[in-house]
Symmetry: C2
Subunit: 392 residues, 2 copies
Amino acid sequence: MKRHIIGLVILMLTFSSWSCLAQTDQPTVKEDFNPSSTSQPGKEYPQVNSEGRVRTSISAPEAHKVLLDIGGVKFDMTKDENGVWTGDSDPQDPGFHYYQMWVDGAAVPDPNSLYFYGAGRWGSGVEVPCDDQDFFALKNVPHGQVREQLYYSQITEKWRRCFVYTPPDYEQNVSARYPVLYLQHGSFEDETGWANQGKANLILDNLIADKKAVPMIIVMDNGYAMKPSRGADAPRRGPGMFSAFEDVLIKEVIPMIDASYRTIADREHRAMAGLSMGANQTIRITMNNLDMFSHIGGFSGTSNYPSPDKIDRAAFMDGKFKDGKALGKKIKLFWLGMGTKEPNPFPGSIAAFREMLDEAGMKHVYYESPGTAHEWLTWRRSLYQFSPLLFR
Amino acid sequence: MKRHIIGLVILMLTFSSWSCLAQTDQPTVKEDFNPSSTSQPGKEYPQVNSEGRVRTSISAPEAHKVLLDIGGVKFDMTKDENGVWTGDSDPQDPGFHYYQMWVDGAAVPDPNSLYFYGAGRWGSGVEVPCDDQDFFALKNVPHGQVREQLYYSQITEKWRRCFVYTPPDYEQNVSARYPVLYLQHGSFEDETGWANQGKANLILDNLIADKKAVPMIIVMDNGYAMKPSRGADAPRRGPGMFSAFEDVLIKEVIPMIDASYRTIADREHRAMAGLSMGANQTIRITMNNLDMFSHIGGFSGTSNYPSPDKIDRAAFMDGKFKDGKALGKKIKLFWLGMGTKEPNPFPGSIAAFREMLDEAGMKHVYYESPGTAHEWLTWRRSLYQFSPLLFR
């Protein structure tokens, strides 16, 4: 009995201390924070610790509530005696994340961070270090250039812009011609994404220096293109417009690039890849134009998005995948990849698409990025895996 | 006497109405606002009206005080029933202005604007239309490219970046070689300024299309360069470092550019210009290296900054301006310019420098930008005036 009473007391003490823990709810935060690579020059925040927690700080002496909002999850920040608010997020996945701050109900960029276009706006981004970051690091290897290319689009009746990566030897080797990869961003992103947060230029500089990828040109355009509709009452903006990206790419961008750069202008030396919405666009555009493309990459997306249902090959995309073996003779590389932590509907729809390829007898390469979701580290790793297989 | 009383009453009524005006202090604002060219895609703010007033808007339902801060002057914003704050500035000079917002004491970028590097941070900018904006407009003319060029600096032991403008025919005319203008930003700005808010590429595209300027390469580097000091106790950061920009430019950037681009690598085909701090650097660096430069441009700055005192030619810059006539044989163009509304100390120090040139017998071209202060429209206009005179 005595033993039972002692046992009960221990049990009660245990619950009691659990209860205290639950009430205070203070996680033990490792105090090994360092400024992120996306902090503005001379700024000490945002910071990241070895657990992947993000810490931000802002002076707001008259504010009553300041929050850090990362991936749509809000974290309270607390004010010190000088009116400076500081707060930490939960541990984040390694890689790049968009975030913002809320000051008394106003959603604003963090004044300490660099800014990136994504989530439909120019705003803050933070980089959580990852074990394999050497592959996109700025290293002492020959570097290519990223060029801003302006062009007028007759189809959209607008000036448009793309960024063009030229490989390190492009300016030295002036008689050489190069294959081209057309590389697209995702929804609510734009033509700046792949060279800024995507690190496409550094990934290729490093691969080319290691002789793991052949020198290539990469064209990063804006995947949004609207054709103005015609007629007296036709709206010039809004839902009355329709997407013209395929037309812009095929009829305007590719001819402009082939005329302006030393490309090898045939289907064997032309690839297309994209992430999320860009993957959906890539598969549709390349399959509609197999006389122009031979290498296809879908990063975290497929053209059956968002459905996880089994694909009817006879009907899907006008039956373009009916005869996979015939396709396999034309398509030199069909590459698909995603992160192991991708949310729905990506795992389901990508799995259904892969099953359809298998049933058609169309070979494909599949890659999974460990521990990452629908974010840029998945796509950096996808480019790193995909581009060495091009133009072989 | 009656006349005197009537006069007094009129005087009192007049003062009384003045007094009413001062109490209400509501300016009549013209309601012809349009989104600025620096609004983010799809955003309706910031806006500007025909008076040059800037209107911003932000949702901040729980905030108690929100201000628009433009050029260091703060303007109250007011909250509507939905928690959206809106406010106008006083009329601004035409051209580009940095600004920010204050939400309950927090200085933040406007979430609706594009972001620019200046005033020592990435933050908001707004464009107030000007009568002569056609010279920097994106027009249907052949366009050059702006290239991001990474390079490792042995002197600073750091990776650095410059932007390089190549003229429209550079990729077509692959045997042609081009003169080079080195073009520098001002203090608290960086290598992104001239191609973003400076519109240097569009200004040259337009001038070259009109055959008013010869096709040239423009190199826009970062004017801050620190050499790490040596010794066991030597600080690796902060005031213990010293400026090495002249060394970096002369020993690293120019050789790298001449090796990487099809330049005409002699003094007759090399120019340097800069704004404010960049003008000061330009005059010092070109005068120290007259074997390398033949054309010099100082936009809103001179090397006697900030002093308005008469310059002693025998002592100033080690007597480099003693013999202006001999200098005049080496220097093909010495160009100075500023805005008519520049604040002190610029008008005084630039006037003293010009007087020194005149007394030395060194000819120079002088330009004044009408109605602009120490801001980007002054510098866009300066580049537009200066570059047609180069390499003739």
